[in-house]
């Protein structure tokens, strides 16, 4: 029972971590909450659904088709995030801290209701990517789907780590996150790096959307809100702006939620309350998160 719960927590945590990375990357550079991130994740899932119908003709079924669907949905989600940044956030960057947040909420409403009106108001079935087997490990049943989700998430996190730590562009991203003005003086184009960050964050969010669709088997126009809000909690928990913190926070939240719904009476009803309560407690007790550093107030 416990092992089963841990495996479920690991799967859920992997999805939260991927979403949380999108929040944390953007926050690290612009210190703004990309409120529309949950909609990017939802659009990623819908693109994957569309591609799942189209792609078998191109790539065939099986692992190649699956990978193709994944990569294209990620690129699409990343691109949407870049477009949002260009038109809804960039003009407001120097006005006030509140303005981009309001605009982000507006974008989020537009995207969600756009899908609601023009695509579907109902839950759509998300196709099974591969035939699902059940494996017995130490008394827990693990489906091959959970293994795929976990493997894909870990692979993406590994790629992100390599990109941020070992490439020139990653170095430029870190420089902008430390001090965007100085980075500009050193010959880095901040607008380009910000767009890149939105692309990477959006792509990870899109991947999370696809994994979410696989995990639950159906998608809906409003699927982004709850995982988005919870992943933000995860990012804050780990220390917003901190990449390792986002991953850690995502897994902690995933475990907390699964354990709470498994072991507290009526826990399943209260699982969403738990995430938000954790958020409030963390912000009150340790606003900088588990791995975050304390940022001095700028005058």
């Amino acid at each position: 029972m416990l092992i089963q719960q841990l495996v479920n927590g690991l799967t859920l945590g992997a999805i939260y971590s991927l979403i949380a990375l999108g929040y944390t990357l953007v926050y690290g550079i612009l210190t703004m909450i990309n409120f529309a991130h949950s909609e990017v994740l939802m659009l990623g899932a819908f693109m994957a659904l569309g591609l799942a119908a189209l792609l078998p003709a191109v790539f065939g079924t099986g692992l190649v088709g699956l990978a193709g669907m994944f990569v294209l949905s990620m690129a699409g989600a990343g691109l949407i995030n870049v477009i949002i940044e260009r038109f809804a956030y960039r003009p407001l960057r120097h006005i006030s801290r509140l303005a981009p947040l309001i605009s982000a909420i507006g974008v989020s409403i537009i995207l969600q209701n756009g899908v609601f009106i023009w695509i579907s108001t109902q839950s759509l079935r998300f196709p099974e990517p591969v035939a699902i087997d059940q494996v017995n490990v130490l008394g827990a049943t693990i489906s091959s789907l959970q293994i795929i989700i976990l493997a894909a998430a870990l692979l993406l996190m590994g790629i992100l780590h390599f990109f941020v730590e070992h490439t020139k562009l990653g170095k430029a991203m870190r420089a902008c996150s430390d001090d965007i003005q100085t980075a500009g003086l050193m010959g880095i184009n901040p607008d380009y790096i910000i767009a890149l960050t939105f692309f990477v964050g959006g792509a990870l969010g899109g991947a999370a959307g696809v994994l979410y669709g696989m995990n639950y088997g159906s998608i809906k126009y409003n699927l982004g809100f709850l995982p988005g809000a919870k992943a933000f909690t995860a990012a804050v928990l780990g220390g917003i702006g901190n990449i390792r913190g986002a991953v850690l926070g995502g897994f902690i939240l995933g475990f907390l939620e699964v354990l709470a719904s498994g072991y507290i009476p009526n826990g399943a009803q209260w699982r969403d309350v738990i995430a938000f309560t954790v958020l409030i407690i963390v912000l009150l007790v340790r606003p900088s998160g588990l791995l975050g550093e304390k940022i001095a107030e700028k005058v």
């Binding site: 909450i33 909420i105 507006g106 309350v273 958020l279 409030i280 912000l283 606003p287």
Partner: protein, 320 residues
């Protein structure tokens, strides 16, 4: 003639027109407009309330509808327990104020976007708690109330009665807002909004004033919630979803943060427009309602960040 056109008279003319509205609509056989008017009024009260937090003190609140819900449920539960309706309204205001003050004491030291997310979290916690606490709130099935007809000597139509009651509450809210805005307290709020650190250094007890603005907001929401419950005679958690909070934020942003007239116009446009569109164009229009709110939020922040009817103070802030 010059005296008659004085802007000073505008609020009174508007009030008189609004009070005559139900009788005019009865004359032209369009009573359903009274209902729309009542709902607009409720959102005017909510907007005036949020204006204290978002407009004057500059604190972002994305869970404001939770206090509307608390007001509505307090009224419903109290009236079902046999408390007289006016007392239930007062109780609704008091309970909202208390919970808001306790919340403010804990979360107000957070800044900007963190505050936004925590209030959003609180809004969801409140809704989910109402939804899950079957013993007290009857869960998703909702609570039914006995009817209360406060103004039956004016009209037999309950919609007209509640319209007038809500109108009176709006007028009282406007009067209270403008008195507070011009007071020492109001100036302190605006100082905090413009530059919190400078305000603190000038000797303004920032935390104290923030808490005051935050708490006063809830009195408006609690009152609106109570009136809503008594009018509808039915409350369910469905009425208090996250998007309703966003609607109230949109009203304040569209009208002009910190501007009383702006909030009233914002509510009139955002809440009045969809039903009129639905009636004039097609029933499908109601689906486009939120898309329209989203577009308004984005376009207003991009092209007219001060709102439709900004306060002169706020306009100076944004253009400096």
């Amino acid at each position: 003639m010059k005296k008659l056109l004085d802007w000073r008279w505008t609020p009174w003319v508007a009030l008189a027109l609004a009070a005559a509205f139900p009788f005019i609509s009865a004359a032209i056989d369009a009573q359903y407009l009274v209902r729309v008017g009542g709902v607009i009024g409720l959102f005017m009260i909510l907007g005036l309330g949020l204006n204290f937090t978002l407009g004057y003190a500059g604190l972002f609140d994305l869970g404001f509808i939770a206090f509307y819900a608390i007001g509505a449920y307090t009224t419903a539960i109290a009236m079902r327990a046999g408390v007289p309706a006016p007392a239930a309204l007062i109780l609704a205001v008091l309970v909202s104020l208390t919970i808001r003050a306790l919340l403010g004491l804990t979360i107000l030291r957070l800044r900007g976007d963190y505050l936004a997310v925590v209030t959003m979290g609180f809004g969801e916690i409140a809704r989910l708690t109402i939804n899950n606490l079957d013993a007290l709130t009857n869960g998703p099935k909702g609570l039914q109330l006995a009817p209360w007809r406060p103004l039956s000597f004016i009209s037999s139509d309950p919609n007209v009665q509640y319209y007038l009651l809500i109108l009176a509450a709006v007028a009282a809210g406007v009067a209270a807002s403008s008195r507070l805005e011009d007071s020492r307290v109001g100036r302190a709020w605006i100082a905090i909004r413009e530059d919190e650190i400078a305000a603190r250094l000038s000797g303004i007890p920032v935390r104290h004033y923030k808490l005051l603005a935050f708490t006063i907001s809830a009195a408006f929401a609690g009152l609106a919630g109570g009136l809503f419950a008594q009018w509808e005679q039915f409350v369910t958690p469905e009425s208090f979803v996250f998007w309703e909070s966003i609607l109230v934020v949109s009203i304040v942003v569209l009208g002009g943060m910190g501007s009383i007239a702006g909030v009233l116009v914002g509510a009139l446009v955002l809440v009045g427009f969809p039903p009129i569109m639905q009636w004039k164009l097609s029933a499908d229009w109601i689906n486009y309602r939120y898309l329209f709110f989203g577009l308004i939020l984005v376009l207003v922040t991009l092209f007219r960040p001060q709102g439709i009817l900004p306060s002169s103070r706020r306009e100076a802030e944004l253009t400096s």
